[in-house]
């Protein structure tokens, strides 16, 4: 049944219906509403789960690692500085092959102190071995969170479900919530391949000398490479139960497009409106919404964008001394593709600055009118220097 709920609570509802057994988290704006609701569910009996209160995000992830090693379904949520504090243990969780699910609400890092939307926090964790899935609206947040447990538990890798601060986390909109029975049909209980247990004592995450370490790393990449097929199978099952699917990426009006905008998160939703409006005016605009960032869907990117004329990537993030992170990845994916298109990089919406239909239309027109990219990154919406 559709209910008007907050994006944060779309996560909480999915975690409740996933019958998560152990949660641990430390509050940080704009993530706090997610775990507030979950702690209430634990307190009032709506969830049969342990909520472990801790003194930091580092400890929250440590608690999840312990619980997941014990073979139970495990969840946490964080943002920004909290996620940064987890960094060491993010590596640990993935290399220990633990299927922990985290909701990550994109928020800027300080200073200047800023609680608003910015993707640099999650993208700074690019190389930690976590699967990353970016969401566009409350329904996708709910659906992706439920799917994330199956994905994580199938490939033995942790999954980060990423949502925009405020534009998604604090926005109320209708979300179709299933009953528990239907959720159970899609998501069976977690059966771990290995776990710490009294009856069968073993050690985990031991020293891996040079003779072993590289194979272990190769195995993680092997698991990453199975994600594409596994994700598609899980989406097909989800579609059969719920009648919705998203894809690793989604192409809209790309066939004859002169300029294709590549967008993520809530900007993808606003961009759909821009594509619809400009198409009515005869503009040949298309868009690709990128949902999966890790593993990076190279083949799908090459298939969708390899034959494009011009690509404009909007990054709500920045790698200092380089460029926008999604643009870097897309350039790298296309560089060996014969006759690949030009990739125009745009930086916008940092630290909660708005991405409006005007912002997106400006990016489209700048790209259309430029014969080639002037720079690696063009910053849009900057105030004039005083």
């Amino acid at each position: 049944m559709k209910e008007v709920i907050e994006g944060s609570h779309a996560v909480s509802e999915a975690v409740r219906m996933a019958r998560v057994q152990v949660m641990s988290a430390y509050p940080i704006t704009p993530q706090t509403h997610i775990v507030e609701a979950l702690s209430e569910y634990c307190a009032d009996g709506r969830m049969e789960a342990s909520f472990i209160c801790v003194e930091s995000e580092h400890s929250a992830m440590a608690a999840c690692i312990g619980a997941s090693s014990g073979g139970v379904r495990t969840f946490t949520a964080s943002s920004s500085h909290g996620l940064a504090l987890m960094h060491e243990l993010l590596h640990w969780a993935s290399a220990a092959r633990l299927p922990i699910v985290m909701a990550e609400v994109n928020r800027a890092l300080g200073p200047g102190w800023n609680i608003w939307m910015d993707q640099t926090d999650s993208l700074s964790q690019r190389d930690t071995g976590w699967i990353q899935l970016y969401c566009e609206d409350g329904q996708e947040v709910f659906d992706t969170t439920l799917q994330a447990f199956r994905l994580a538990e199938t490939v033995n890798l942790p999954v980060m479900v990423v949502l925009d601060a405020f534009f998604l986390s604090h926005t109320y909109e209708p979300v179709d919530l299933p009953d528990q029975e239907t959720a159970d049909r899609f998501l069976p209980p977690f059966v771990p391949n290995i776990r710490l247990e009294h009856e069968n004592p073993c050690a985990m995450s031991q020293m891996a000398p040079p003779g072993h370490y590289m194979e272990m790393r190769h195995a993680i990449q092997g698991a990453m490479e199975t994600v594409f097929e596994t994700f598609s199978e899980i989406e097909a099952d989800f579609d059969a139960v719920f009648g919705r699917k998203y894809g690793m990426l989604e192409a809209v009006e790309c066939e004859d497009a002169e300029v294709i905008l590549v967008v993520t998160g809530t900007a993808a939703s606003t961009c759909r409106q821009v594509v619809a409006d400009l198409r009515k005016k005869g503009e040949r605009i298309g868009m690709v919404k990128l949902k999966m960032f890790r593993p990076f869907p190279l083949e799908a990117i090459r298939e969708t964008l390899g034959g494009a004329r011009k690509i404009a990537v909007l990054d709500r993030n920045f790698s200092f001394g380089a460029s926008g992170i999604f643009a870097q990845e897309i350039r790298a994916a296309l560089c060996n593709h014969p006759g690949h298109p030009q990739v125009f990089g745009y930086i916008g919406g940092l630290g909660g600055r708005d991405i409006t239909t005007d912002t997106l239309e400006t990016i489209y027109r700048m790209t259309k009118e430029s014969p080639e990219p002037a720079r690696e990154s063009v910053w849009v919406g900057l105030k004039e220097e005083e």
Binding site: K2, V4, P30, I115, W116, D137, A165, F166, F167, L168, H170, T171, Y172, E173, P174, T266, A267, S269, T270, R272, Q273, A276, G352, D354, I355, T356, T357, T359
Partner: protein, 181 residues
């Protein structure tokens, strides 16, 4: 699509008012989207909330700049904020008060007044210094818009407000009847 901006002060239930209205409009068949203006909330500080309504799926997820209507929970906000900025010509300004604020040029807009403070106090919502006026304001707003119906609004209030449900429902009903426009 219709866009509504709420102006209030921290602690007045401005965001809650917007959420209840969103839920009521959803019950009345609309797609809805509502969110607070994202700041650090403090009691007494000016706050804003946005509400979008449409008969098709709402795709735009940016802030709202040219509202069709505004709801002003405290008339003194006209002194400290540009409350009518971006308001479309002919848009409604629903003000909590007995008369329009002095010395303001509101020509080109439609002004509606409701004494939300009196209605809140009559229904024992909040205190004389901190009356809880949000349910009165949304009752008045529903009357001006002619949608959602009072019945739907009362359902939404009952589901959303955890305490003093009847008093809040009564306040919405009283304001629905009392609003002047």
């Amino acid at each position: 699509m219709q866009e509504i901006r709420f102006h209030g002060r921290g602690g007045q239930g401005t965001v809650v008012a917007s959420v209840i209205l969103a839920k009521a409009f959803f019950k009345a068949g609309y797609d809805v989207q509502t969110f607070p203006v994202f700041g650090v909330e403090r009691r007494g500080a000016p706050v804003e909330a946005y509400l979008r309504l449409d008969h098709q799926k709402i795709l735009i997820r940016s802030n709202l700049y040219t509202p069709d209507h505004i709801v002003v929970q405290d008339a003194k906000l006209f002194d400290v904020a540009d409350v009518t900025r971006g308001l479309k010509p002919g848009g409604w300004i629903l003000i909590n008060g007995q008369k329009p604020p002095q010395g303001l040029d509101l020509s080109g807009f439609r002004v509606a007044l409701v004494d939300g403070t009196r209605i809140a106090l009559e229904n024992r919502l909040g205190t004389r210094t901190h009356p809880i006026i949000n349910t009165a304001m949304i009752g008045a707003f529903a009357k001006i818009m002619e949608v959602p119906s009072l019945e739907i609004l009362q359902d939404a209030i009952s589901e959303e407000i955890p305490i003093k449900i009847q008093a809040n429902v009564d306040a919405a009903r009283d304001a629905y009847a009392a609003v002047r426009f």
